[in-house]
Symmetry: C2
Subunit: 664 residues, 2 copies
């Protein structure tokens, strides 16, 4: 970055034959000073004199702290290049004198240039150890990986003090600063700036809505330098003799219109003209979902006012306690008796070096529990994001939003897994509902868990957790995909028929049915064959997009019935795949299947399938409070899980190359 400084020529006939100029340099910056225009035919010698730490170059000659370098005009380059590497102690503490001499070396004209050298250096934690280092050469760039660089900004979406509200112009409460990234303006140099000069911190108009910057952190409140529509602020001039600490607060997660990249500039400004800029880059941390294979910390369940889930809650406490987690019981009275804890929110987290917060994504479903996350979850290190949408359908409830465990697909690692949500499928155009665009946009924009859209609109409720889940297993891959399978159910009852157990009964939504009744119901069979086909389509997508083989999948029995005008699928008896996975403890909806010697044959089948992989199955009666309301245990709970140990900025690929699908 070469700057120019033009010396105003004096006539050698002028009565004033001395001229002085003040020049402000930035450490390391080269400044170009044209001098040819100063020379006329009377000049036989040009004398250069340097005082203080300046490097003056002209043609092949370097002048440093030297006296009387004499040059013939014919050896003179067009310009002098001047550079200073250390900041000034006082204003104008360095100088370059250009004396134009005649043949007898008498002075014709003398030009004195007085230099003030300033350091313009803005620092961040570019090496990602949680500490701001000094002038990292990569502070303006980004490289993914363990040997990568580039600073990271958390969105300060939590609430660190009870009365916090968005219109604050200060950082209030000691804990607020913990969620900010720090920047340091290094000592600039002399005690004060030259007059007319300012130090300005600024961001582009595009970046301005996405952050705030605070100075005066030595106070208890700080001062908002950038924010609330202001994209720039000048630092107080007296503060420049020490390092100045600034706090940066992220305001927005990545989304379709914001790639999370923020540049912050520190400029030397003269009369509103920017003379020099040091620039740092931040990447806003993504929102990361936690798959079922991560250990639970807290399970949330609503207590139904009628008391219908009282006994179930007590049973759930045992399963949750066995997995060393806590059960948090939420009174649903204040939330219009909404029991569908899974549907209103999705727990995730956001992380930067040395900073962490859980972040709840609030779905646009906006039923009874809509206020629950703000009222009971939002707090210190628990943030909250909301994406409203008046066109939201049942597909926008977060039973329809899951994430796979980490997978590798065709050599591409997805160390945080891939987000899964349900929509439509081109082979069944009659079912055309999709998740609303602003939620899909948000999910795709996080990049780190590239989403996969499954087919769920064939389901009456329309959530992917009605046909799939993941269970951790002590196998090489570490998990199995569990799919609901009508075929598997028919296999079991067919086998029972062959054992002449046709009088055994299954409890169903329409009452107890014998094996004979079930097998003779052609409509039920045909509907379930169709539903099986839809599940198989999803099976194919999941196999392909998650790199799964057949033996990574376990089919567990389940049965639907066609409901309504479009014959969408509704569970026919409690849908076991809608289980709550707490490490190897599985809270599974009790299926009330045919019993031989008091043993439910459906439960026995599931235990047979899952327990060899180290799982413990707890079959819990959720018939009245959940099944009859068209959901099960998973729909009725939500789980805050441990974050991944892997840091998203340390993975080899940032997955930003991942293309959104064509039908996006």
């Amino acid at each position: 970055m070469m700057r120019n400084f033009k010396i105003t020529p004096l006539s050698s006939n002028s009565r004033v034959n001395r001229s002085s100029h003040e020049v402000v340099l930035v450490t390391g910056q080269l400044i170009n000073i044209p001098i040819k225009h100063l020379i006329d035919s009377s000049v036989e010698w040009v004398e250069l004199k340097v005082r203080g730490e300046l490097r003056v170059k002209q043609a092949n000659l370097s002048v440093l702290l030297s006296e009387k370098v004499l040059i013939s005009p014919k050896d003179l380059a067009d310009s002098l290049i001047v550079q200073g590497n250390t900041y000034s102690e006082e204003l104008d503490d360095r100088s370059l004198t250009i004396n134009l001499l005649d043949k007898q070396q008498n002075l014709i004209v003398s030009y004195g240039l007085y230099f003030t050298v300033l350091r313009i250096c803005l620092d961040v934690d570019a090496d990602r150890d949680g500490v701001v280092e000094e002038n990292n050469p990569n502070k303006g760039n980004w490289k993914q990986g363990k040997d990568g660089y580039g600073a990271i900004l958390l969105v300060n979406s939590d609430r660190d003090r009870p009365e916090a509200h968005e219109e604050d112009y200060h950082l209030k409460g000691l804990l607020e600063i913990k969620d900010c990234s720090l920047m340091v303006v290094r000592k600039v140099g002399p005690k004060r700036l030259p007059s007319q000069y300012d130090l300005r911190v600024w961001v582009s108009e595009e970046n301005a809505p996405y952050l705030r910057i605070f100075d005066q952190l030595e106070t208890n409140y700080g001062h908002e330098l950038v924010g609330h529509g202001h994209q720039q602020g000048n630092l107080i001039k007296q503060d420049i003799t020490k390092d100045i600490f600034l706090a940066v607060e992220g305001l927005h997660y990545r989304d379709i219109d914001f790639d999370g990249i923020i540049f912050i500039n520190l400029s030397l400004v003269k009369d509103n003209e920017i003379l020099y800029t040091d620039r740092v880059r931040f990447q806003v941390a993504p929102w990361i979902m936690t798959p079922h294979t991560l250990s639970p910390q807290t399970v949330y369940i609503a207590r139904i006012a009628s008391g219908s889930n009282y006994k179930m809650i007590e049973q759930m406490r045992f399963v949750v306690g066995a997995s060393k987690a806590q059960l948090e019981v939420v009174s649903s009275i204040r939330y219009r008796n909404d029991r569908w804890m899974q549907d209103e929110i999705e727990f995730g987290y956001s992380e930067s070096p040395g900073h962490f917060m859980y972040v709840v994504l609030n779905s646009p479903r906006d039923r009874g529990l809509d206020e629950f996350p703000e009222e009971e979850l939002l707090g210190i290190d628990v943030g909250h994001i909301t994406r409203k949408n008046p066109e939201a359908t049942t597909l926008d409830s977060f039973g329809n939003l899951e994430v796979s465990p980490p997978v590798t697909v065709d050599g591409v690692d997805y160390p945080f897994g891939r987000i899964l949500f349900g929509g439509n499928h081109s082979d069944a155009p009659e079912y055309s509902t999709r998740m609303v665009k602003n939620i899909r946009d948000f999910l795709y924009a996080q990049k780190i868990q590239p989403p996969i859209e499954l087919f769920c609109d064939w389901l009456e409720v329309g959530h992917i957790d009605e046909f799939m889940t993941f269970v951790p297993t002590k196998t090489a891959k570490g998990f199995k995909l569990i799919l609901t399978s009508p075929n598997k159910y028919y296999e079991i009852i067919q086998a029972l028929k062959e054992q002449h157990q046709t009088e055994l009964t299954q409890r169903t939504r329409i009452g107890d049915m014998s094996i004979t009744d079930l097998l003779s119901n052609q409509e039920l069979l045909q509907d379930n064959q169709r539903f099986q086909r839809y599940i198989d389509w999803n099976r194919d997508i999941l196999k392909q997009k998650l790199g799964l083989r057949e033996d990574d999948i376990i089919d567990i029995p389940g049965l639907f019935q066609g409901a309504g005008h479009q014959k969408r699928a509704e569970t026919f008896f409690p849908n076991m795949v809608n289980m709550l996975v707490l490490d190897n403890h599985l809270a599974i909806p009790k299926p009330f299947g045919p019993k031989i010697n008091e043993e439910c044959q459906i439960e026995a089948c599931v235990k047979n399938l899952l327990e060899p992989f180290g799982c413990t199955c707890y079959f819990i009666d959720n018939w009245e409070p959940y099944f009859l309301g068209r959901g099960e245990i998973h729909c009725g709970t939500n789980t805050r899980r441990k974050p991944f140990q892997t840091k998203w900025w340390e993975i080899a690929s940032d997955l930003t190359e991942h293309q959104q699908p064509n039908n996006y």
Copy 2:
């Protein structure tokens, strides 16, 4: 940790045949309830009933949420063991009923036990990623290494706001919390604690002086829970329905009477009796010195009021600028014209995951510059330690305190090098001064850079920087040890004599001397042979203790004279080993040696020795301002350097096994 709860027996003849007891459990804790004493001969059956998440064990029987378990008294174990794993939603929300029945199963006596289960969980950043995780099983322990664990506490020795003073009972200024380690008290359970119960945070009487703990961090000031002589504080009872954040502030570095290990306890207390304790461990971060081989950030030099070092400062700016560091010129007028910047302070740093501060150790020398670090260095992320001692001698100036680059000695890694300071030597008992004990104690107590005591009392000034330094080189080891060598000097002038250059002169403390003069001075020769022997003793110690070979050492010419009663060594001409090392740029005292063709033969020798290793030598005239005052460039400067990239808690050994020497 098994607790006991004794049920008061009721006589079966009592008119009141029901009794209720309230019991407080901690999640996961086993409680032992003796029951044999309740049974008399009239009892034929014991009925147990459980409500809520409790595990009740007796002999081979486990009772969970079950109705009417009937046991014959002869099958009854002495005690019931009761455990709850999840916290209570309400007080007394779980129960165990023990009904004693007669032969006809009629009730004789009923004992109802009502349980409240509380979580007592205190969390720290035990996995050292800068973030407090949940219930790390290693939070009470310490393991060194990349796969290690154990929380770390920084000593908050910096000054984050101008008016800060030690008697504050609050955390003032947003930046203060950045220097604290956070702890989290996890949600305890029900909305309030049972009456008579408290949650207490406490430390031992021994640990109390070394830390403070603050709660109410959602305010702008926090509240001192532990500190100022108070070793315990109770948490506010209403706050227990959410996680409570606490800040821990370290007050003291490791020293002879403090190993840096702090335990903090969270206890459930009833009527001042501790019922259960969760405990975390902190290790106070050591103070770490930075060897000459680390890159410079800022070089400090005093401006002498007379102006005698004006030109030298300007020259120094070029060297400092070439190494991309800054030169900070300190006005010595306010410091009684004390120019010996090296002697008053030692720059080091202290670090924990996500926290860092430079920390200046202030020597007990306490001459003019004594107030300089407090007045001009202390600030945000620049801390200050002082160790006073009225018995301090010149050996307690920090020209006598250095640190080696990282070395490996006999298979033991010292990744932060070893501290070096000078004292006496048993073979020269006439020189018996040592560094004062409280400084030595402090240095040994840091452990991470196990000190080596060299012999320096043979020097009039008595600092190890008069005979040694380290220079970074582009070699496998990465550095060379540079030693002053009278022998080397004599070699050069002997060679000059052999070239018949006996009239050439060396400028010395006593005036210009010819080669002939120098070679004919027998007293000078004998003194220097003695000094060479002392240097050789140090060479042997350094070779042994730093694992150096002869080719790791470069001898550069130097000369001393015997001074005073005890004929201690005083430099005879500027002592080049007292150079300032700024990466490969070396600011070396100009030796004013014999010249051939305008080339100083001493400078030529040093360039020959050092420049092949990639160093650039700048010979700077420090004769008047420093040499005549019995010091040189290194004595007159101090350098804040980049910290090690290695984290002290990640190295394989914590070096705590290192024994202090016998003569310690």
